[in-house]
């Protein structure tokens, strides 16, 4: 049994919610949101710090408030949604199946929106050796313990990785009376936004050590300490630099990856650089009618940009449903020197779009240029380009032609 829908949205976080409201605005009302958790809102529910919405609403909101702006729109418009609904399969012909406490839900969708967000990399992903005591948390799970369940993860913490969630958690732990001894970052630059270094570490006198990593974990049933070493240019620990930091809590903020399990099952082409789907400028994946936005497509720094991207996705879905989506070209977007990845990875029409990218290293007075066959399309000058910050460049409609790759270079 499968119910027909114009669009099935997988995920009720910032991406899915913004896509749903925007689709409704565009006259696409026959839609449903499937959310795995018991409430809508996704990761925003546990992000109680402020700073959300500055771009989008011109005011500084906490995560739950930002989410509520969209959730109340979903409710007011009567957009159908199911919570506690975990999608277990997605097929090439856009059949979606979800398990819920009251049984299976099956849909046959004209369009599918992949908005499942991302997951944190864990101790296993970075292979820290040592014993296996309790007290080792990803930053997001420590955040959930504290902000949703009112449980403190420990008393004395060390943080590995300088991603934004780790920095935010350094401040959160400190405010709750937990001593944060230091933040260690294996790379030579912080991974989070500059403002978070200032307001989460500097404000509380928490030191940040670059080119350092945790090389051993000690403790029987509970963590008793970590060994930290300096690393060389190739990120290899330097012998003789080991130092022991006694602590009962290790917080890992070592990166996020798209939650792409469903994509793999459905046979959607994945970009190894982002771990998200390969999409065109309409955010359509390798399966026609299946679109993707937000952190399952590529990890963003700001929820505001996830909302924007998802609204662009909604416009594409609406055009697709009415048969008016641009096509006719097959241009690849190539990452030239200095560029880590781009979204989209290909261009199929001369519709304008926003090119998102990350640079590979910190650059001062950087120039990002987009060209095709030696013809420069856009150039963006920046005082500072930082891998921790996603860069967006508007590519005007009519500027891409059918011949030759688009090349994106940063330097």
């Amino acid at each position: 049994m499968s119910e027909r829908k114009d669009a099935v949205i997988i995920g009720g976080g910032p991406a899915g919610l913004a896509a749903a409201v925007a689709l409704d605005n565009l006259g696409i009302h026959d839609i449903v949101i499937l959310e795995r958790e018991s409430q809508l809102g996704g990761i925003l529910r546990q992000c109680i710090h402020d700073g959300f919405g500055l771009q989008r609403f011109g005011e500084s909101l906490s995560g739950p408030e930002y989410a509520e702006r969209f959730i109340s729109e979903v409710r007011r418009r009567g957009i159908e949604y199911h919570t506690d609904a975990t999608v277990i399969s997605l097929t090439e012909d856009r059949k979606v199946e979800a398990v819920t406490p009251s049984g299976l839900l099956g849909y046959s969708a004209k369009a599918v929106v992949l908005a499942m967000g991302c997951r944190e990399r864990s101790r296993g992903s970075i292979m820290i050796p040592g014993e296996r005591p309790s007290g080792v948390f990803t930053a997001g799970s420590a955040q959930a313990y504290m902000n949703l369940y009112n449980r403190m993860p420990g008393r004395e913490a060390v943080i590995l990785g300088s991603g934004d969630i780790g920095l935010i958690m350094a401040r959160r732990l400190t405010l709750e009376g937990i001593r944060v001894k230091a933040v260690f970052e294996i790379q030579d630059h912080p991974n989070g936004l500059d403002r978070n270094i200032v307001q989460c570490l500097d404000d509380y006198g928490i030191p940040l050590y670059l080119r350092h990593t945790v090389t051993d974990i000690h403790g029987g049933s509970r963590l008793e300490g970590v060994t930290v070493s300096e690393v060389d240019e190739r990120c290899v620990p330097i012998k003789g630099t080991e130092k022991l930091y006694p602590c009962d809590t290790l917080i890992l903020s070592v990166g996020l990856r798209p939650d792409n399990g469903l994509l793999k099952d459905a046979g959607i082409a994945i970009d190894p650089r982002t771990d998200g789907a390969i999409v065109d400028e309409h955010l359509m994946t390798s399966i026609p009618g299946v679109f993707s936005s937000g952190n399952v497509l590529h990890v963003h720094d700001l929820a505001d940009f996830v909302s924007l991207e998802s609204e662009h996705l909604a416009a594409s879905v609406a055009a697709y449903l009415s048969g008016g989506l641009g096509s006719g070209m097959d241009v690849s977007v190539r990452c030239g020197s200095g560029v880590g990845h781009t979204v989209p990875q290909k261009v199929v029409s001369d519709d304008g779009f926003t090119l998102s990218l990350r640079v590979r290293s910190v650059m001062r007075d950087a120039v990002i240029s987009v060209s095709q066959g030696g013809r420069r399309i856009v150039e963006k000058k920046m005082r500072k380009a930082n891998p921790a910050e996603m860069i967006m460049i508007d590519i005007p409609g009519g500027s891409v032609c059918p011949d030759g790759d688009l090349e994106v270079v940063a330097g």
Partner: protein, 122 residues
Amino acid sequence: MKRTLTCIICPNGCSLEVEKEGEEITVKGNLCRRGAEYAREELTAPKRTISSSMRLIGGDMEIVSVRLDRPVPKEMIFPVMDAIKSASAEAPVHIGDVLLHDVLSTGADVIATRNAERKEGR
């Protein structure tokens, strides 16, 4: 006196060149007006906002998330945290509800940032 500050008002995180000569403060490198205001305040009387959680009675969860509706002097961060920790709210609570008015005479209100409905039997 010359200093470089990172503006924390928005994610742009402008790098601000701040120069203080007597009472005169000049700011360069800011993309907007708020950056100059931030730099002046940071040199004279730095302020911050706080987000945390307050104990919730009779609600769907043990706590409700809260924040200040405006920044307070930096030295008030921990006293305000203590005030939030020793208070409690009773469900139902809605976004924007003032849970502590003019906390510690700072002029800032502690407001709820989540809707928490009443749940019987808790």
